[in-house]
Amino acid sequence: MKPAPFSYEQISQAQQVSASLLRSDASVKIIAGGQSLGPMLNLRLAQPTHLIDITRLAALKTVQSSSGSVTLGACVTHANIEDGCVPGRLGEILSEIARAIAYRAVRNRGTLGGSLAHADPSADWITTLTALDAELSVRRADGQRWMKIAGAMSGPFDIGLGPGEWIDAVRIPEFASGSAWGYTKIARKTGEFAHAMVAFLHRPAQSSLRVVFGATESAPIVIDHSDSILAGADLESLKALAHQRLLQAGLNDPIDNRVRLAVMERAIRKAQSGRRA
């Protein structure tokens, strides 16, 4: 279980990344923490001929707060987030998400940007940052664009990056005062990828809520709705709506869907019982 031959390069200038990705004489992949790519290389599921390591780019490890949002460099690790590199209520929420990703050994190396670029449908950040309405800073040879994570995934392992494009940062809106957050996932064992996950964000100021189903084997399923749907004593109408959306997405195993809806209910209960920002 050893990788096919490849060459390896440490990148020292961010501008070099896109140029390398566009090389015609090699199939190039970016490596950051390597926690997904490493096993794929060893299993020869991925056989790039050239790897560029972006973890020496200091700018990619920074966390910057500005009014209304916080921006994390792509090479900030799950462990950095777990350990509180993001301040405030948003930081607490992100820390809690990070703490439940795989194992600490994986979190020590695995990066936020790497996880999002890899876009495993069962990974935590894709689902939770969709719910939190985060945006990706996408760099390319001739510039930069912002892309909302919600709607970016066109399929499993595809976050919609074009040729020469890569993620250098993630911008997450500040957690609005009065909002309620709940995230629940269930996995066979600690550290495993979840088989059902739901992130829930309620913003009373906007009278809106967002439910995101992850672990769908493809792009997360996003439900944006007026919070009037929560007015009833139970969640039946929201569940019915969600169930319809799961079926529309081609998810029709009744047991799986029952579990997904139960997880949604738990995420909502968690939000309702949790403290508000």
């Binding site: 279980m1 096919a4 031959p5 269930i186 066979r188 550290g191 990828f193 047991i255």
Partner: protein, 793 residues
């Protein structure tokens, strides 16, 4: 617990001597060894489950680095026969020749300066085949419609056995329950996989093979047979070995292939099993299917069981245990620790297009415990009895010991009812039943389950001779040598691969000779230095090698007394041996002084000194070789989430009787480790296959093992009923922990789900299986309600 006989002797929980290197990462495993000019090997393995080989295409530039069956024509296939009547023989080719019989079967051996380069070469070899329909399911494999794996056979069944005892009595049953029970395939998953380094030593004219094995002498015999080399030209060394659990109790085709290759190219060659190879290619375990019926009278009297058991043996009979050990064990130990009058068991060992199965820690005991204990709980539910009350009626009782059960298993000693009572008290069944009535605030369902097992261990010649497999254990030997400065070397043929024998054998020697355990060195795992042995398996080493160590020390003591008496100028009858000294009426002489005299001042020795000196080899067998019977009770409470199918173990009690404990801490370690593996069997581990025989668990992301957070705090209690047949009353306990967890946990889950009428009968019990069982039970209920309404209307 008994008091130890001294701070370092039998019964003392002394820290493990081997931990000084193992806990510092200084162990020397096969992969740690360095050899000049070493070449690495990667195998091209079949991606097909069943196929006829048309051709193997090797690029011309790589011909010198790729070897196929054509090159190995002088090498004999691995053949593990059984003497049981009707056993069909399979020949396992070292590299697949005409046919491929499982995904992962080695087809070509590729050699290069590094493993990565060897894999690059393997990727360029083209295998052309004509695919054949595979046999994936063992029950289908038994039928006439199934394609044949081995053409010379008339069906796919290695062996069929049948036993019937007093089945007439089943007619007296008021109730009977029948269940179809399955334990899915697993991989043993030791921390260290297999690994082999082979080289030809021109000076000694000897093939030397370093292998991560638990039976170096048996591997040597197997290599000698396959390669046509006399034993004296083969040396097998097992260095530090990181767990075996049965996976290292097999002669691998890779060991034979590497040995041949090292002689062919005249350089050391290495193959290290990677995780994917471990999971899919070398061997699996545990796949059983049972149709089992329990019979009882209305008053709770248990009449017995009848069973049809099928074992998926995989494509070949593995060496040395053969394809029949598992099923033969099913038939003989299914009755468990119980005394009942009627028994029938028919077994089939079926060849399928999967890698061979091996005995895994507990061997068939884990499967039969699962089958029997689930049926006993089903009967208890039918009888409206508590599961422990039901079992207490027919557990073997202490006053029956020694006891011959319905399959003539000879129980040596023990108090099973007491162990059960202790477990029930510890788990506090009354409090639990009350809690169940109240229900849980979070909607989960609480359940209690128990399982009782016994573990025949260290069984010897008479038992294995009956099975006629390539390996029959005889007298176990130890060579003990006192060194010139009073240290002690012990050489045993068993092989410690996690059992802590470097510590426990030293404790035995300390009890016998009073030598500080730091001065006792265990030499094991090398055929050049140790007496022949079948190795470490079947929970036998502490009983057999421990007995041999004691016997050798006993003889040494006699010789020490003889020389000591002479040095003290005292008659032999007037001296005694105590704590490393010979003590006479008017003085004492130390073991060091006696050793010094034997080696360095022979002029001071008595004229009639034993010419064998301070080195002896003694053989040991138990008073009876029918084995020791360790046993135990596992009592578990679980919480089951009926919405998600999630299971949490709330409490786990183990009452264990391993006879006299040589090192209680080591025994607890064995129980912890085994129970963790049993929890894996119960809830997580499954090697699934698709319709075409493709294994679906080829990495640890698809094949789940329990981790530290999945293993609860285990509460272990001990009974210590000595075996009357072993040297110190010790019993084999190495496998015990892995036997009962699937049964106890399944029974607890079924108890939790009894209001739903749902019953789980297949391991592992995944969330999905729980939810499906609840659905099935509810739709059955709904349709019976509907039927009742139709009748009444």
């Amino acid at each position: 617990m008994k008091k130890p006989d001294s701070p370092q002797g039998i019964g003392a929980s002394v820290p493990r001597k081997e931990d000084a290197r193992l806990m510092r990462g200084r162990g020397q495993f096969v992969a740690d060894l360095r050899f000049a000019n070493l070449q690495d090997v990667a195998f091209l393995r079949s991606p097909y489950a069943h196929a006829r080989i048309v051709s193997i295409e090797v690029p011309a530039a790589l011909r010198a680095q790729v070897f196929t069956a054509q090159d190995l024509q002088s090498v004999r296939p691995i053949r593990a026969v059984s003497g049981l009547a009707g056993f069909k023989v399979s020949d396992q080719p070292i590299l697949a020749a005409e046919k491929i019989r499982y995904v992962g079967e080695p087809v070509a051996m590729c050699v290069a300066a590094s493993r990565a380069e060897a894999e690059d070469i393997a990727a360029q070899v083209r295998l052309h085949v004509e695919e054949l329909p595979p046999v994936v399911d063992m029950l289908f494999g038994r039928t006439a419609a199934a394609p044949r794996l081995h053409e010379a056979w008339e069906d796919n069944v290695f062996l069929e056995t049948n036993i019937e005892v007093n089945t007439e009595i089943f007619k007296q049953a008021d109730i009977s329950v029948t269940r179809v029970i399955r334990t899915n395939r697993q991989a043993q998953a030791p921390m260290e996989g297999r690994g082999v380094v082979a080289y030809w030593d021109p000076r000694l004219e000897q093939l030397t093979v370093y292998s991560a094995t638990q039976m170096p002498h048996i591997v040597r015999t197997g290599l000698s047979e396959c390669l046509g080399l006399p034993h004296e030209q083969v040396r097998v060394v097992a260095p530090d070995v990181g767990g075996g659990f049965g996976h290292k109790g097999i002669l691998l085709t890779e060991e034979v292939a590497l040995s041949w290759l090292s002689m062919k190219i005249g350089r050391p060659v290495r193959w290290l099993e990677d995780r994917r190879e471990h999971l899919v290619a070398t061997a699996n375990c545990r796949e059983h299917h049972y149709v089992i019926t329990g019979y009882a009278k209305r008053d709770g009297q248990f009449l017995g069981v009848s069973c049809e058991a099928t074992v998926d043996s995989g494509a070949y009979s593995s060496y040395p245990f053969s394809a029949c050990l598992e099923a033969a064990q099913v038939a003989s130990i299914l009755p468990g620790p119980y005394d009942f009058p009627g028994y029938a068991c028919k077994t089939y060992s079926v060849a399928t297009n999967k890698c061979p199965i091996l005995p895994y820690r507990g061997v068939a005991r884990t499967g039969v415990c699962f089958a029997l204990e689930l049926v006993l709980d089903a009967l208890a539910r039918e009888l409206s009895m508590e599961p422990h009350h039901f079992r207490q009626q027919f557990l073997v009782r202490p006053e029956q010991m020694p006891f011959d059960n319905i399959t003539k298993k000879h129980f040596d000693s023990g108090d099973y009812p007491k162990a059960l009572s202790m477990a029930m008290q510890a788990i506090d069944i009354e409090a639990l039943r009350k809690r169940q009535q109240h229900g849980e605030p979070d909607g989960r369902k609480i359940g209690f389950g128990l399982a009782i097992y016994c573990e025949q261990a260290a069984h010897g010649t008479s038992v294995y001779a009956g099975w006629g497999i390539p390996m029959v254990p005889g007298k176990e030997q130890c060579t003990a040598r006192i060194t010139p400065d009073g240290g002690l070397e012990l050489r045993i043929g068993a092989q410690s691969h996690g059992q802590s024998m470097e510590t426990t054998m030293a404790q035995v020697a300390h009890s016998m000779l009073g030598i500080d355990i730091e001065r006792v060195r265990l030499i094991h795992g090398d055929t050049a230095f140790t007496p022949y042995s079948t190795g470490t398996w079947g929970s036998r080493s502490m009983v057999m090698s421990g007995g041999a160590v004691a016997a050798a020390c006993e003889t040494l003591k006699k010789r020490l007394l003889h020389i000591g008496a002479w040095l003290l100028r005292a008659p032999l009858e007037e001296v005694r041996y105590e704590e490393g000294q010979v003590i006479g009426p008017a003085g004492r002489v130390s073991l060091q002084q006696i050793a010094h005299t034997w080696y360095l001042r022979p002029q001071d020795l008595p004229v009639d000194v034993d010419p064998g000196g301070l080195e002896v080899t003694e053989g040991y067998r138990m008073v009876r070789d029918s084995g020791t019977f360790g046993y135990g009770v596992h009592a578990v409470t679980v919480a089951v989430d009926p919405v998600t199918g999630d299971v949490e173990i709330l409490d786990y009690v183990i009452v264990e009787d391993g006879g006299t404990l040589i090192n209680p801490m080591v025994v607890d370690g064995q129980v912890y480790g085994g129970t963790a593996q049993g929890i894996g069997t119960a809830l997580y581990e499954e090697m699934a296959f698709d319709q075409r025989g493709q294994p679906l668990g080829s990495t640890f992301s698809d094949y789940l093992l329990p981790g530290p957070t999945e293993v609860p705090n285990l509460r272990i209690f001990h009974l210590e009923t000595p075996s009357p047949y072993s040297r110190f009353g010790q019993k084999g306990v190495g496998e015990s922990g892995a036997i009962a967890p699937p049964a106890a946990i399944a029974n607890a889950i079924n108890d939790a789900l009894r209001d739903f009428g749902a019953e789980l009968l297949e391991s592992p019990i995944t969330p999905r299986r729980i939810l499906e069982a609840i659905d099935r039970a509810q739709s059955a209920k709904a349709s019976s309600v509907a039927a009742a309404e139709r009748v009444s209307s």
